[in-house]
Amino acid sequence: MEYTKKVMDHFMNPRNVGVIENPDGYGKIGSPSCGDMMEIFLKIEDGIIKDVKFRTFGCASAIASSSVTTEMILNKTVEEALQVTNKAVVEALDGLPAAKVHCSVLAEEAIKAAIEDYLSKK
């Protein structure tokens, strides 16, 4: 099992790590006992994602998936962000090993959860 350069880059230099105080949307997916957990914080203005931060407990591909996903949705509309699939995440990372595809699903779900949180509060 070997990761792509892209995965290793996002793993070693994750983008948008951290928290947003009083986020407009917040999603938390996974559980520590399964070995993976992801948190996404969104700042949304006029339906556009102006800022995004994440924190992830998990393997390298979970960390890389969250990192690349935050890049993919930054400055996108909420509708566009909802279109991001785990397949797109895998593609953005130039692929994931078969056993690791579920880590990208986690990223997709975390984004969806954060946006749902935002929509439900609106």
Partner: protein
């Protein structure tokens, strides 16, 4: 960048002297050890001499040594072989909760064939609970199979104590000594076992050559059937270069062993003391038990193992999370869970395993770099941040 290999429980570098000993058996002495002509006889003498070396070192008879292809194969041959040969006497097998997949999955497979298997628990240090083992014995028990030292924690099991019990109860006893042979003194007859598996690549020998001690008088069914090699117990053309390499590797590993063990233990002690001093919220697993001198299993709280492994790898440091065989599946280690370690902590556990080529400089590099890797990953971890807030 410095590269530090701390995954010697997974496999080791072949010693240059071992390779040198093997070289004539590829292009010069290339006969089949079972052929009658002079090419075969030369090969046969080399095979015999390797068998003698290994037998002498282990203090067993030449007729008690079967060469196999892998440690996993030795485990299979021992466990399936006894199950088959003794099945008329009973259908119950005792093993532990912390075995290597080679033994564990074989026991599980035998369950599908109608055998009953008891998996004896371990205490919090990873030592098999002997009282529980005693209680598990039935009149149908034909085999106890127990590893000598665990591959993930290095914790050594009370084999001698247990062999007294198996002897009293006339139960065949197999130990998987793949992690101990070549690392600490191991003599199957002093341990009191009937069968013992070991594998060359764990002690700076070549991959693809392993052995099984089978005490004279013990009947053994076969896993692989064919011609007459290895007393018909393990047919297939013998890997002569590999067997010669294993003998040489064992010779080297057991020379000045006490001294080398002491050095390795000192190095590990230095490593663990520094790690604990430099990194908060870590725990050394099995620390209170007798351990192999070079193995250190450390749980880094609030982190996941693979990310630590790759973070260290980025710095040139090779370690493992769980056993290498299972790096494809994503379960938390059954060994750590059996010790009562929380699932989250088990996920964040790394095995550092030293070998004879590691230096103090290697360890100094690791204790410099590891804290940085851990700190960086913890800033990403929501669990770590939650924990900081709670404090």
């Amino acid at each position: 960048m410095r590269r530090v290999y701390l995954d010697n429980n997974a496999t080791t570098k072949t010693d240059e002297r071992v390779l040198e000993a093997m070289l004539p058996y590829f292009c010069e002495v290339y006969g089949n050890a079972h052929s009658m002509h002079s090419f075969g006889q030369e090969a046969g003498r080399a095979l015999d001499s390797a068998r003698e070396t290994v037998s002498n070192i282990l203090k067993i008879e030449k007729s008690e040594l079967i060469f196999t292809g892998t440690g996993v194969e030795s485990n299979n041959l021992a466990i399936r072989g006894i199950a088959r040969a003794y099945k008329r006497r009973g259908n119950h097998i005792i093993t532990s909760a912390i075995e290597h997949p080679g033994a564990k999955n074989t026991c599980q497979d035998l369950e599908r064939e109608g055998f009953e298997v008891s998996y004896i628990p371990v205490d919090k240090n990873g030592v098999v609970i002997v009282e529980e083992l005693k209680k598990a014995i039935r009149k149908e028990t034909i085999l106890v199979t127990l590893m000598h030292a665990n591959n993930e924690t290095g914790v050594v099991q009370p084999i001698e104590e247990i062999s007294k019990i198996t002897r009293e109860n006339k139960i065949v006893f197999h130990t998987d000594a793949v992690q101990t042979v070549g690392k600490i003194p191991v003599y199957p007859k002093e341990l009191g076992v009937d069968l013992m598996s070991f594998s060359a690549h764990k002690f700076n020998g070549p991959k693809g050559t392993a052995g099984l001690f089978v005490k004279n008088g013990i009947r053994l069914g076969k896993v692989i059937t064919g011609g007459g090699q290895e007393r018909k117990i393990r047919p297939g053309t013998t890997n002569l270069a590999g067997v010669v390499g294993m003998a040489k590797a064992l010779e080297l590993a057991t020379a000045n062993m006490e001294e080398k063990m002491k050095e390795e233990e000192e190095l590990r002690s230095f490593f663990e003391t520094e790690m604990v001093a430099r990194i908060p919220e870590i725990k050394i697993n099995g620390k209170e038990a007798t351990r192999l001198p070079g193995t250190s299993s450390i749980s880094f709280r609030h982190l996941e193992g693979e990310s630590i492994l790759l973070g260290l790898d980025y710095k040139g440091i090779a370690v493992s999370s769980g056993s290498a065989c299972s790096s494809d599946d994503l379960q938390a280690s059954h060994v750590l869970l059996a010790m009562g370690i929380e699932v989250v902590d088990a996920h964040g556990t790394i095995r550092f395993s030293l070998g004879k080529f590691n230096t103090r400089e290697d360890i100094e590099y690791v204790i410099e770099e590891a804290p940085k890797v851990i700190e960086k990953l913890r800033t990403i971890s929501p669990l770590w941040n939650e924990f900081q807030l709670k404090k």
